[in-house]
Every structure is written in structure tokens, then in C-alpha cells.
């Protein structure tokens, strides 16, 4: 708890109305049920740095946040005194469309940035969950990924620099605003997915990408998972460079039914009958000049036929965009689908999909819980358990299943962790999965950035 004297000093540090401590406000910043003593709203990075310096001196725990859509990720914080809300840092500092580079404040909503980019026929390949609410800082700090990584890579491939406040309260930066740069350590890469445990991100520099003239897609349906896996393999061995490649289990496809879409916040547009809930699906997206898209459509249709797809439906631009949006929002849809959704993120090699999917089915059967799965072509598999009740028995079954999933991923040469689950499960399961050989190095990195251990303490791997 923060003594009242601290609050009044913070009020002096920031302007009026920038320190809030009424219970309702604090509750809306809860992390896994833990409430902060105060919520701070700095107007600029300098004010935010003052807050961190103050917190470091007073040994107060700070959790930086934006739209608060992903605060449930991570282990419950070991301490939480101050919520540092950066949504007032919301400017585009530099945008030079001719250079395809961008420097933007952490608190800016992703949707706002997207419309600015779209006006210049550019975009960031960040079709991330909670797209309508999320901020730039939250997207980067949470490390959520996007279907577009198939072609464009993940944030580590297009974040070219950052400005941030380290645990000592110093405003620091790394990288720059040019697309090719080896000046100094790439510290900004460490911030991606660090859940606010290393620094308070205040600004992120990106390279942007040109929007190509047309974007279309194809959905191929199969009666079994072998079909989708074989089609993925053939696409990977072909010269086709898809922008998205997603595999959906029948249960996942059912989740994309119009009824669930209408319940989503904000509601999602309904998809066509081509996404039947009884089949496995491979959803491919491609882009380019019309004649390039025609080539993709031709080749993909042929490959789908060769792999005995039950059906292959070509998507026009509108259908493709609607499906892309639904897949991007798969995580919130899953979270709405059960009172105790557990989502695993598994990093696997695509050649192991076959055995991994079979094992996951066994785990599902053993737990006798409903499940759903979607996988990205590059090897990331999201597997969700969707219990219908939220009781002690359910949690013990979930815990057993979690251990099995962690071990399965390790056996297949990859790893798994749980980005989203009920707080209750976090008491019995280490959401970060099995111990890592490089944990000692991570500890040292954490200490280098945050010597007093005040930034989001406890939330990261090994309670860092």
C-alpha cells in the first residue's frame, strides 16, 4: 500500500487530475484482482519519467498500461502500487510516408494510427487481438502476434527503435528511424513481449509497408486434419508467398458463427457459409496486382484439389477482409466462449503439426473439456480449452492438461505457455511453462534495466 503522503507528493509532481485514487477508478486498473493504490496519468514522457524516478526512490511497484485489454497476461503481480496510464502520450511524432518510417507515442490507439497510414496507402502488419481498443505500447509490450507474420514477420522484424523509461526513471532509447541500422545494442527487441517488466515504453519506431492494390483469399475445407496439414506443406514448398496462412479446427470455425460475431465487442461482420463448422479449414490470404492474385487463386485452387479438399472457396476482397478481422479477433472470441477459457500459445515446427494435433486431441479427451485450435502457417499454434463450468474440479483438470501441453511442446522441440487463463488457474500452474536454460541471463537483463525491481514485479517468466 502506498502511504497517503506519497499520493500527495505525486499530486505535486503531476498536475491536478492526473493522480486518481477513487476505488472505482482503481478497480478498472486491476491486474489479476490486485488493485493499485493510485492511477497516474502523465501528459508527456518527462512526467512519466518523474513518476518512475519517484517510484524507484520510494520502492513503489509500477505497472504501465494503455487500453488495459491485455493486463490479464502474465503471473499476478507480486506488488502493485501505481498504475502508470500512458494513454495521454498519443501523438504521431514523425511520419514520413516517402521513407516508410514512423515514430509514434505508446498511448496512441492502433486504429487511429491505421487510418493515418491507410490514407497514405500504407499499413503496419499488426492485425492483433482487441484491435479496436489496443494501443501501440500495449501491442508491443504484450508481444501479441498477427496472422500477417506469415509474410511480414513479427514485431521484432519491423520495430526499428524505441524510446522508454528504464527502472531508474531515465528516458532512454535504442535503434533509430532508419530501416537498416546496427548502431548500438537492439535493446528495443527486449521490450517486445516483456509485459512492462523492463521499461515503460513511451515511443516506438516502425518501418511501414505499402498496401498492395488487391488482397484476396481462399478457404479450403477438409474432412480431417491430415488434409489441411498436407496442403500447408505443399504451399510451403511452392513459390507462393502468402500474406496469411491459418489453420482452423472445426470447433474454431464454429466459434466464427454469426451468433458469436454479433456478441463480440465491437460486433464482427458475419462470415459466409463457406466456413462450415464441421470441417478443418485452411485460410490463405494473398495480395498484389490483380494478375498476381489471379495466379495465387489458380495455384491454390489446384493444390486444394490435389490434396482432396472437400471444397475450396475463393474470397473476394470484402470476404477476405472480414475473415481476416475474425481471425485477428480469435483470442477475444475464445475468451467469450467459456467462463474459464485457457489459451495456450505453442511454438512448434510446422512439420510436427501432425503429431502435435493428435496429441492435443488426446489431451482434450483426457480432460473431457471442449477445445478449439488455430495455427499459423509458420508454426505458432493457439490451443484453447473451453470448460462450461468454473469449479474446483475444472481447475484441477485444466492444471493437468496444462502440464501435458507444456511437455508435448517440449517433446516436439518447441515450447508452450499460457497467455490467457483465469486468475485462479495461475495459483496452480506456472503459465510460463517449463523452466528455461537461459533464465539466469533474463534475470541479469531485468536487473540491468530495473535494478530496484519496481516495474511490473512478478509478472514475467520466473516471477521477474
Amino acid at each position: 500500500m502506498t502511504p497517503a503522503s506519497c499520493l500527495s507528493r505525486l499530486e505535486k509532481l503531476l498536475g491536478p487530475g492526473q493522480v486518481r485514487s477513487d476505488p472505482a477508478e482503481r478497480a478498472s486498473y486491476a491486474v489479476d484482482g490486485v488493485l493499485p493504490s493510485a492511477v497516474l496519468l502523465p501528459n508527456d514522457p518527462a512526467e512519466a519519467a518523474e513518476v518512475v524516478r519517484f517510484a524507484a526512490a520510494e520502492k513503489l511497484a509500477v505497472i504501465p498500461c494503455g487500453a488495459r485489454t491485455k493486463l490479464g497476461m502474465g503471473i499476478p503481480p507480486s506488488r502493485y502500487d501505481l498504475a502508470l496510464d500512458v494513454t495521454r502520450l498519443n501523438q504521431i511524432a514523425h511520419y514520413d510516408p516517402a521513407d516508410l518510417t514512423l515514430s509514434v507515442d505508446a498511448g496512441l490507439p492502433l486504429t487511429q494510427l491505421s487510418s493515418v497510414l491507410a490514407a497514405q496507402k500504407q499499413f503496419l502488419p499488426l492485425a492483433v487481438p482487441f484491435f479496436a481498443q489496443t494501443t501501440i505500447g500495449g501491442t508491443i509490450a504484450s508481444g501479441v502476434d498477427s496472422p500477417l507474420r506469415q509474410l511480414y514477420g513479427s514485431a521484432r522484424d519491423f520495430v526499428i527503435g524505441a524510446e522508454f523509461i528504464n527502472g531508474s526513471g531515465a528516458l532512454t532509447k535504442s535503434g533509430g528511424r532508419v530501416v537498416k541500422n546496427v548502431t548500438g545494442y537492439d535493446l528495443h527487441k527486449l521490450l517486445i513481449g516483456s509485459l512492462g517488466t523492463l521499461a515503460v515504453i513511451t515511443r516506438v519506431n516502425f518501418r511501414t509497408f505499402p498496401l498492395l492494390p488487391t488482397r484476396r483469399g481462399l478457404v479450403a475445407s477438409f474432412s480431417s486434419e491430415q488434409g489441411v496439414i498436407e496442403l500447408r506443406r505443399r504451399i510451403a514448398a511452392s513459390p507462393l508467398a502468402l500474406s496469411t496462412l491459418e489453420i482452423l479446427s472445426p470447433q474454431m470455425a464454429r466459434l466464427f458463427a454469426p451468433i458469436n460475431h454479433s456478441l463480440a465487442k465491437p460486433p464482427l461482420a458475419p462470415l459466409g457459409a463457406w466456413l462450415a463448422g464441421s470441417a478443418w479449414h485452411l485460410c490463405a490470404g494473398f495480395e498484389g496486382h490483380p494478375e498476381v492474385c489471379d495466379r495465387y487463386a489458380r495455384d491454390l485452387s489446384r493444390l486444394a484439389e490435389e490434396t482432396q479438399a472437400v471444397s475450396a472457396h475463393l474470397l473476394d476482397e470484402a470476404e477476405h477482409s472480414t475473415l481476416g478481422h475474425s481471425i485477428g479477433e480469435a483470442v477475444p472470441l475464445l475468451l467469450n466462449a467459456s467462463p474459464a477459457t485457457v489459451i495456450f500459445k505453442m511454438s512448434l515446427l510446422p512439420s510436427h503439426f501432425d503429431s502435435a494435433f493428435a496429441e492435443l486431441r488426446e489431451i482434450t479427451d483426457r480432460a473431457s473439456l471442449p477445445s478449439a485450435l488455430f495455427a499459423r502457417g509458420s508454426g505458432t499454434v493457439y490451443f484453447a480449452l473451453l470448460p462450461v463450468t468454473k469449479d474446483v474440479q475444472t481447475f484441477s483438470r485444466l492444471a493437468r492438461a496444462a502440464t501435458a501441453v507444456f511437455e508435448l511442446a517440449a517433446c516436439e522441440g518447441g515450447h508452450a505457455m499460457i497467455p490467457w487463463c483465469p486468475t485462479e488457474l495461475k495459483r496452480s500452474v506456472n503459465i510460463w511453462g517449463l523452466p528455461r536454460p537461459d533464465f539466469a541471463l533474463m534475470q541479469r537483463v531485468k536487473t540491468a534495466f530495473d535494478p530496484a525491481g519496481i516495474l511490473s514485479p512478478g509478472r514475467f517468466v520466473g516471477n521477474l
Binding site: D99, S154, L187
Partner: protein, 514 residues
């Protein structure tokens, strides 16, 4: 002997001949490093000998001489050079170096251009040439696991049969090693569309300066926890010795088209590049040679560059046949719009190879016409290309040098080449000042100090142009987390802290390759 004494002794050996002008260190003159000075503790050498066996350790001055240089204009002599074969041996070498408190430095093929692989403060130089095995090829998942001494091009040759290749292609790719590429986060002409080394590395095995062996990342994407692989790639050998590397392999494109656009003015060429970028066209490579450089190259390589032009652009597009056709048409249009006199398209692989031979052998060609040259590496926002090239020409005139330009125009990565005569001391000082002016301008227009060569011991003193003391302090703390005391590859990237009183002595520049 304690390391601090050793460093002091090294510094005494290199007395500063003359005064320092401004921020830039001066050349100390040849012959001041005596070759008979051998300082390493004999017990350490005996232990290394025992560990590595016959031929595994070099320590005679005439043998060490070979390892005093890399591709840069810098110099630094190790006290001994070791050639381990296994990670375990490297770990033991690291423990011994720690025990005797001597510096430890890794080195691949020594083609680096910023002194990254030089033993700036002496010590043990670990050369990876015997660790040159490809450990695993996984065609289906497009991954390879290699030892650090594998030569860049050899990996591509090993997987070409499966329609794959290793994308980073520095001009030295016939000699440079993947370990060196990882340390420096190497680029190359085709990184414009394909990304630099860091975009192609998913896992590493490390030996820390204390000897611990640790694996980070792996074959799959998204390592759990902090992205240590992303930090290690490009850390210039200052955080750990890298003993095994897992890389992504890319699929060879179905179609490639190479164009040569010829210009009467440099401005037309640079404006073409700026407009290609602004229109959202992404060629796989977009290289520029100015008139002086292309003539020198043409006389040597006979690649077919028109000698009477002011600049040429070498542009390549690749991908699906339909996409290549569309992109080539768009590029044609932009080139015409900016008054390209001629646009040639390579008709076959032989013509394409010849054009690339001209580009990749340019530095050899320049070596024929100038006693010495100093290759710079700066990055600017691509929209600033025209004005930056004009400024470089101005700087050349102001300092009285011919400055050639051959560079990765598409990503704004400049390589101005200052021609001078190393025998003339005053000329060298002027060349260094001219280079500094160019770097300052790059930073001024929103650019960076290096795009692919690294900071090394060449530009550590320039880091404050870009980074505040708080930024550098955090970098120091991160280095300290891996490399306590900075005994691994000392004197690189981050300038020594304030008040240390270190005086930079720059040796005689040698002809470089890039």
C-alpha cells in the same frame, strides 16, 4: 600481470605522435609496435597448448601479425590465437582467460569493417575456422543449424538443391562466416526486401566470458521470455562468444529480373530511388554506383557499365513471375520519369552475374587506382538521398578528396569511399575528418552511424552523436550483465566512461574490402 597493467603497457607502446584535433584520433605512425614484446603469462599459454594440442595455439610474433588486422583501417594485436574445435573447448578457453584475467575476443574470417574482430587490448583471440560444420539441415521447416565458422556462401550452396538459400548476402560472402554475420548483424544488397541477419536467426548457443554454456531461442519462432537472440545478434562479440547458430532458410524465388538504369546526373539517380521507395515498390536490391566508381569498376571487371554516365542503378526484383513483371514495369516507369537515358534488362543469368560481379568486386577495383581508401558506412532516410549525395560531394571538394559512392541505395545505406594516400600523414588526418563530417551529416538528417559494418573500435567515439549518456549507460549495464568487467572484446561499441582518459590511436589504414 594484471589486465590493467597490461592495458597500460599497450598504451605506452603506442605513444601518440602529434596532437589530437577535435574529436578524431590520430594515426600514430608505423613501426612503433615492437614485435618482440610478448607479455602473456607463460602458464596460460601452456594450459591452452595442453587443451588444444599441436597447432591449436599461435603465439610467435610473426604468426600473430596475421591477426592484427581485419577488413577495417584498425589494428590490434592479440597475445595468442587459438583454434578450438568444440563448444566445450571454448568454454575452457573462456575459463582460462577469466582465471588469468586476460581479454577474450572472437573472430570469424576477419572481413569485418569496423575492427570488431581485433584484440584491441591484446589477450586471447578465438578464431572459429575449425568450427565450420553444418550440423543440421531441415529443409521442410527451412532451418539450418551451423557452427559459427561456416562460410556464408557455403550454406547457400548446401541447400540450393532443395530450392533454398540463406538470405543475408554481404559482399564478402565468399569468405565471411555466419558467426561473424551474427556478431555484426551483417547486411548485403539483398537485405532490402529480405531483411538483415537478425531477421534470419532463431537460436544461438553461447559461451559467456565466465565459461558457462547457454542456449537461447531455438528452431521455433517466438522464444519464451525476453528476446535474447535479438539482443545478441549485432552485439559485435561484446556479450558472449557464439558457438552454434540456428538460421532460417528462404525459398529461392521463381523469377528474377535485373535492371541497369543509366543516368546523366547523380540527382536523377537518387531521385529515382526516393520515388521507388515512396511509391511502395520493394525491389529485392537497389544499388547505386556513381560515375567515378562505375568507370573504375568497368575498367577492371568489364561488367558493361556505360563509362560516360554519371550514375547507374542496379535494381533487382524477384518473386512470382507475375509479380516480377508488374514490379519491373513500375520501376521502368519511375526510371523514365527521372530521365534514365537507358534501361537495360539482363537477358540471362550470365548477364545478371556479370552486373553483380561489377557491384561485388568494386572495392578490389578501387584498390587498383588509389594507394589507400577509407570506406564509410552511414544510413539516412531514403527521401534524403539526393541532398546527402550532394553534401558528400561538397565535403570531398572542401577536404580535397575524390569520394566515390557505391551503396545500397534502396535502404539508404551509404558507402562513401574516400581516396587518399596513406603515406601522407596530413592526408590521412584530413580523410578521417572528412569521414567524420559525413557521419555528422547522416545523423543530422535523421540517420544512423552504421547500417551494416558495426561500430566496433572505429566509431565508438562517435556514439554520443546519437545516444545520450543515459542511453549509453543502459547499454553498458546490459553489457555488464553478460560480460562483467568487459573482458570479452574490450574497447568496442560503447565509448569508455567519462574521465577514463583513454587516448585513441588509429593505426595506418590498409586497403580494405567490402
Amino acid at each position: 600481470m594484471l589486465r590493467s597493467e597490461r592495458v597500460a603497457q599497450l598504451r605506452r607502446r603506442c605513444p601518440l605522435a602529434g596532437s589530437t584535433a577535435g574529436q578524431f584520433p590520430l594515426y600514430s605512425g608505423p613501426g612503433e609496435l615492437s614485435l618482440d614484446l610478448f607479455l602473456m603469462d607463460a602458464r596460460l599459454v601452456r594450459k591452452l597448448d595442453r587443451l588444444l594440442g599441436n597447432g591449436g595455439v599461435l603465439r610467435r610474433p610473426e604468426e600473430l601479425l596475421l591477426y592484427e588486422y581485419d577488413g577495417s583501417v584498425e589494428q590490434g594485436r592479440p597475445d595468442c590465437v587459438v583454434f578450438p574445435r568444440t563448444t566445450e573447448e571454448i568454454s575452457r578457453i573462456a575459463r582460462l582467460a577469466a582465471q588469468f584475467d586476460v581479454p577474450l575476443v572472437g573472430r570469424g574470417a576477419g572481413t569485418g569493417l569496423s575492427g570488431g574482430a581485433l584484440a584491441r587490448e591484446g589477450g586471447v583471440l578465438v578464431v572459429f575456422s575449425r568450427m565450420n560444420r553444418i550440423l543440421e539441415l531441415d529443409h521442410e521447416n527451412q532451418r539450418a543449424v551451423v557452427q559459427p565458422g561456416v562460410v556464408n556462401l557455403d550454406l547457400t550452396r548446401a541447400v540450393e538443391c532443395a530450392g533454398l538459400y540463406f538470405a543475408p548476402d554481404p559482399s564478402s560472402q565468399m569468405a565471411c562466416t555466419i558467426g561473424g554475420n551474427v556478431a555484426e548483424n551483417a547486411g548485403g544488397p539483398h537485405t532490402l526486401a529480405c531483411g538483415v541477419t537478425t531477421n534470419h536467426v532463431t537460436g544461438l548457443e553461447l559461451v559467456l566470458p565466465g565459461g558457462e554454456i547457454i542456449r537461447i531461442g531455438g528452431k521455433t519462432a517466438d522464444p519464451l521470455g525476453y528476446d535474447l537472440t535479438g539482443l545478441l545478434v549485432g552485439s559485435e562479440g561484446t556479450l558472449a562468444l557464439i558457438t552454434e547458430i540456428t538460421v532460417k532458410l528462404s525459398r529461392l524465388p521463381e523469377a528474377v529480373k535485373t535492371l541497369l538504369a543509366v543516368y546523366d546526373t547523380v540527382d536523377d539517380a537518387t531521385e529515382t530511388v526516393a520515388e521507388i521507395t515512396a511509391r511502395g515498390i520493394t525491389p529485392s536490391a537497389c544499388e547505386m554506383l556513381d560515375g567515378w566508381t562505375l568507370r573504375v569498376v568497368e575498367d577492371f571487371v568489364h561488367a558493361g557499365f556505360p563509362r560516360d554516365s554519371a550514375a547507374v542503378l542496379l535494381i533487382e526484383v524477384e518473386g512470382l513471375a507475375e509479380a516480377v513483371a508488374a514490379q519491373a514495369a513500375a520501376i521502368h516507369e519511375v526510371c523514365r520519369l527521372h530521365s534514365a537515358g537507358e534501361i537495360r534488362v539482363a537477358r540471362d543469368a550470365r548477364e545478371r552475374d556479370l552486373l553483380w560481379k561489377g557491384r561485388k568486386n568494386a572495392f578490389g577495383a578501387i584498390g587498383r587506382v588509389s594507394p589507400s581508401y577509407y570506406v564509410q558506412d552511414g544510413v539516412i532516410p531514403r527521401s534524403r538521398l539526393p541532398q546527402t549525395l550532394r553534401r558528400i560531394e561538397e565535403i570531398g571538394r572542401q577536404f580535397g578528396f575524390q569520394i566515390g559512392n557505391i551503396f545500397h541505395a534502396g535502404d539508404g545505406n551509404l558507402h562513401p569511399i574516400i581516396l587518399f594516400d596513406q603515406r601522407d600523414r596530413a592526408q590521412f588526418e584530413r580523410a578521417v575528418s572528412a569521414a567524420g563530417e559525413i557521419m555528422r551529416y547522416c545523423v543530422e538528417v535523421g540517420g544512423a552511424l552504421t547500417g551494416e559494418h558495426g561500430i566496433g573500435m572505429e566509431k565508438d567515439q562517435l556514439m554520443p552523436l546519437l545516444f545520450s549518456e543515459a542511453d549509453l549507460d543502459l547499454m553498458r549495464r546490459v553489457r555488464e550483465a553478460f560480460n562483467p568487467g568487459g573482458r570479452l572484446n574490450p574497447g568496442k561499441i560503447i565509448p569508455a566512461g567519462k574521465g577514463c582518459g583513454e587516448i585513441r590511436v588509429r593505426p595506418l589504414p590498409a586497403a580494405s574490402t567490402a
